[in-house]
Symmetry: C2
């Protein structure tokens, strides 16, 4: 059964999409119904992840890539998960005005995900946003996520092509290596290449990559130097994205990636719903009263947990049920 909202989103309606995205952020059960409806209509967009430490220039690169893709008449969706992104309202006014260029372009739909204060479920919400943009018929979906190795959204598991952005002097290369972010990179971009240390960073990165164990995966992640503010190197990044896409398609590795992404999403959905369940239990009014009852041994913690969760933890109760 197709809902009205789903049909509007499939027709590319921006307001309908924004409404569903709000529902996703609010964790509304109605939003899940719509996502179920949409899911069969997804899988056509190509997803590009852009990650890197704060300050390396992810947002400016994103901005430049949008312009580059628009020149090729591709329609674009953007999910900004980075709290420092100007899209998420985290940066200076100057940045925000610059980004506003694209908001006048009907074929560019930009949404940010407020990652601050979320107790979890950020990956699930990001994937849901991607599905909405996908169902809208966007050719390309760009996901910007901060990645400094502190347990942020795992962009490498969501994107078809993952771009890791570094810049000289940011000093977090080693942390990123530790966190396995480098392994996730299909394309490296060393931004601010006009600054001192860019060439050194490239040599260092090449050394690290040459030490990495070779996998069966035979794509050699290119290292591209850009100076995005001066529009240097953008075309090369755009071309590398298309090359990588072509590689994934010709080797049929794209199916494998998408299967892994689907399983990742399933795990995220399960984890998120269990987490929500716990939070609801802890907020429940009778949870406080239970403390009294437990303290005076009127009830035991296992029976109390069973009552709250509506499930059985022990063997006895199952037996009782079977006897009935």
């Amino acid at each position: 059964m197709q809902s009205e909202l789903t049909e509007k989103i499939l027709a590319g309606d921006v307001r309908a999409a924004a409404r569903l995205m709000r529902g996703i952020e609010d964790d509304s059960p109605g939003a899940i119904d719509e996502l179920k409806n949409l899911y069969a209509h997804t899988g056509r967009s190509y997803i590009v992840g852009i990650t890197g430490a704060p300050g390396v220039g992810k947002s400016t690169l994103l901005d430049a890539l949008i312009t580059s893709f628009r020149q090729r008449k591709l329609t674009i969706g953007v999910v900004a998960v980075d709290p420092t992104s100007p899209y998420s309202g985290g940066a200076l006014l100057g940045d925000r005005i610059r980004m506003a260029n694209h908001t006048l372009d009907k074929e560019v739909f930009i949404r940010s995900l407020a990652s601050r204060g979320w107790s979890g479920g950020l990956a699930r919400a990001t994937l849901s946003f991607i599905h909405v943009l996908d169902a809208m018929g966007k050719d390309l979906i760009l996901v910007e996520a901060v990645g400094s190795g502190q347990g942020e959204v795992d962009i490498g598991r969501m994107a078809d092509t993952t771009i890791v952005v570094l810049s000289p002097g940011a000093g977090d290369e080693i942390q990123m290596m530790k966190a396995g972010i480098l392994e996730a990179a299909d394309i490296f971009v060393i931004n601010k290449a006009d600054k001192e240390g860019a060439e050194n960073l490239r040599i260092q990165l090449e050394q690290v990559l040459s030490l990495a164990p070779h996998s069966s995966y035979d794509w050699k992640s290119p290292i591209l130097l850009t100076a995005v503010i001066n529009r240097i190197g953008i075309e090369e990044v755009t071309q590398a994205i298309f090359d990588h896409k072509q590689y994934l398609i010709s080797t049929m590795k794209i199916e494998q990636r998408r299967k892994q992404r689907a399983m990742f999403e399933l795990i995220e959905v399960i984890e998120h719903s269990l987490r929500t369940k716990i939070n609801n239990i802890l907020k429940a009014k009778d949870f406080q009263d239970l403390g009294e009852k437990l303290a005076v041994k009127q009830i035991d913690p296992y029976s109390a947990a069973e009552n709250m969760m509506g499930t059985t933890l022990s063997r006895n109760q199952t037996t009782h049920r079977q006897r009935k």
Copy 2:
């Protein structure tokens, strides 16, 4: 309904208790049944937690306290959660032989909890072990748990009296302060007081404590200096435990602590059972097959999660049910 095992444990049977503890470690549903039976018979033991960084001398202090309590004819249960504890088999042979003294004493029942490799549920298992010893009729239960601020078992939430052991030169005082372990202390023990730096550590600790915001809780945690290996200061620690017990009873704060502990256990039980649920789902055979189905959009991740969890995430299904 009282089971045979429960009755044996209530009669103080060591083999029966050991059997249930194995069941707890194996996470068997049968063990939960027994714990439900036992729970009403618990709450008589006094629980003392001993925590501190590895190498400060927790186990030797524990050993000395057991001797001291036995001289007072008190029966003792011990739960060693510390993986470096000789009770858990983590230390030198010499330590293990020394500890073996008490294993010949029928009134001292010592069990270790293997904390290595546990994905979680350690607090729940520790509390369950405490309940078993409590039901056996032990006067005192001593829980030894490593605490270096790395997310170990939160002993302060389980014990009536918490002893934090420090030693000069261990160098982890600041980490413990960060981790809030100092706040949990009812008694401080600076062990190896014959070593250089002990007096300095005491002064430093007093300064930190004087800076801490004063709570309504008007017990002033004493700082005791010991040299356990030379049996110096043990009686003072024993006396401080009795003083603190007397304080908790006379101010009725013991009920408050026990209520908080009961609620902590309830949360742990809920978290642990949800965690187990996730693990079972991920191990399920059909989980791998789902990846294929998801990738080709034969099913959506929300419906797949609902199938695996046997619950409803969306609104639609509830509505359908109501319509029936």
